[in-house]
Point group: C2
Chain length 286, copies 2
């Protein structure tokens, strides 16, 4: 019996950069450089932004279909698998997934042994609804050698149910490839609303959150950077990164501490105190 | 058809002070002064802290029973009803409720016409579990002349399900009598975690949040003040108040704007975008 740290460690990296629209070769090269930097910093889990290989602002279905790839024939997945194998690392990365005539805004979860799973964004933001199908795989939690990893993508984080599904699924680390955009009313003296939602999601579920955002303006749409890594008490461990610069954020995380920290005192536990008996079905009236 | 403001206004006040343990007469006098100040500032809805009439740190069941009152014979409710009638105001106030041999950590919702309802805290914090029964009335939303009011109390706010039940119940304003205590790891350069959870709850549901906290240290337990009023985009409209001073926070709120603001763009709506089809039953594994 031991309360010592070191018993379940992950070193998490969030990789922030500006993808070039439609230029997956350049984007993969940029990602490769960032992954190596993360590896040199000791990371064994790295998160890349949403749709990092294709860019985000499509203007037609044709364009979106042209930039999406099937898991089986994706140069992106292949290159990330090579990197994961070569550096003995886990990688969570957003990519445009094609499955027959359907497109998904997806996140690949890749380990040293290859592809582990693909999460499909459940909550589509704005014009994404014109190109992508809503996710159809629920909220998977992947048990890996370093701990349990659950992906969410961008607008998923606006729904506390997303964080909760990950928490109740046993996740230790929620990895969030994202392309956050400015929110109305953002205050300069407070964190970005996207960051606030990560802090609350981490605190309310006792999980680590690793969110990797892109930077830059694409076809008139600005993105806000500010990637961050949050601990299970809801406080940033690394970041937020700047609004517009390339960044490699790294945090050493004791996952055992997180599982213990969910017990707040002799009476309270962030997950077990849920009153499922009074939440009803959380059905709709809006 | 009009988008003009002024069509559904509430002026909300949060009243922050330090109750004296076990001295309900003094506490009611303090509250009366604060309510008058709020009234002079134009408030038609005022929120008082959790257990403002009794104090918080009980040391025995006997003591807790001695300081709790039944709704029918509560000097606290009676005095608040007089104030609400006299000032044409709505009041949400925490009190120790006795119902036969059961105690509840409750919030009375009172209007100019008298008592509207009593909410019983669903999530009990720490030693509260020794004295109080968990709430047994779900998450009521009270339709009033000024708008729909839903009470939550303190630790309820740690559970995103609480905010969601209010939002899906149609709440415009979530009123939170609270006795927030310090949270581990609190950072000086970030808002109190309790405040962060209010910002996230407001933003994710498009509701106003009015949280009134107490100050002071009682029997060794410090409380953190920092009451605040949050708008439906998740940004503070008033406060956070100081950590230790008496305060009357006031914000003018257009409830019609809040209902409109839940539509984020042509595709997205904070409540209607919920993916109930993939949330499962949000059942337990922890």
């Amino acid at each position: 019996m031991s309360g010592a740290s070191g018993e379940a460690n992950a070193t998490i990296a969030c990789l922030q950069f500006e993808p070039s629209f439609g230029d997956s070769e350049t984007n993969l090269e940029q990602a490769a450089g960032l992954l190596e930097e993360a590896h040199r910093a000791g990371a064994n889990l790295a998160v890349l932004p949403e749709l990092f290989d294709s860019g985000y602002v499509f203007t037609s279905r044709e364009e979106a279909f042209g930039l999406a790839t099937s898991v089986e024939a994706s140069p992106t997945i292949e290159r990330l698998q090579e990197a994961a194998r070569g550096m003995d690392m886990y990688i969570v990365a957003g990519f445009a997934e094609r499955d027959g005539d359907r497109l998904y805004n997806s996140a690949a979860v890749i380990g040293p042994g290859g592809l582990i799973g693909v999460y499909r964004k459940n909550h589509l933001w704005a014009e994404e609804a014109l190109y992508f199908e809503p996710g159809d795989r629920g909220f998977p939690v992947y048990a890996t050698r370093i701990g349990r990893i659950a992906p969410l993508i961008c607008y998923d984080g606006w729904f506390p149910e997303s964080w909760r599904r990950c928490g109740l699924g046993g996740a230790d680390i929620v990895c969030v490839p994202t392309n956050w955009v400015p929110m109305p009313g953002q205050r300069d003296d407070l964190p970005a609303m996207a960051n606030i939602l990560c802090l609350a999601g981490a605190h309310s579920n006792g999980v680590f959150v690793a969110a990797a955002c892109r930077t830059g303006t694409e076809r008139g749409q600005p993105f806000i950077g500010q990637s961050l890594i949050v601990g299970p008490q809801g406080w940033p461990l690394a970041g937020p990164a700047s609004r517009d610069e390339r960044a490699v954020l790294v945090a050493h995380c004791n996952l055992a501490d997180a599982r213990r920290a969910r017990a707040l005192n002799a009476f309270n536990h962030v997950l077990r105190d849920r009153r499922s008996d009074v939440y009803g079905e959380l059905a709709t009236r809006s």
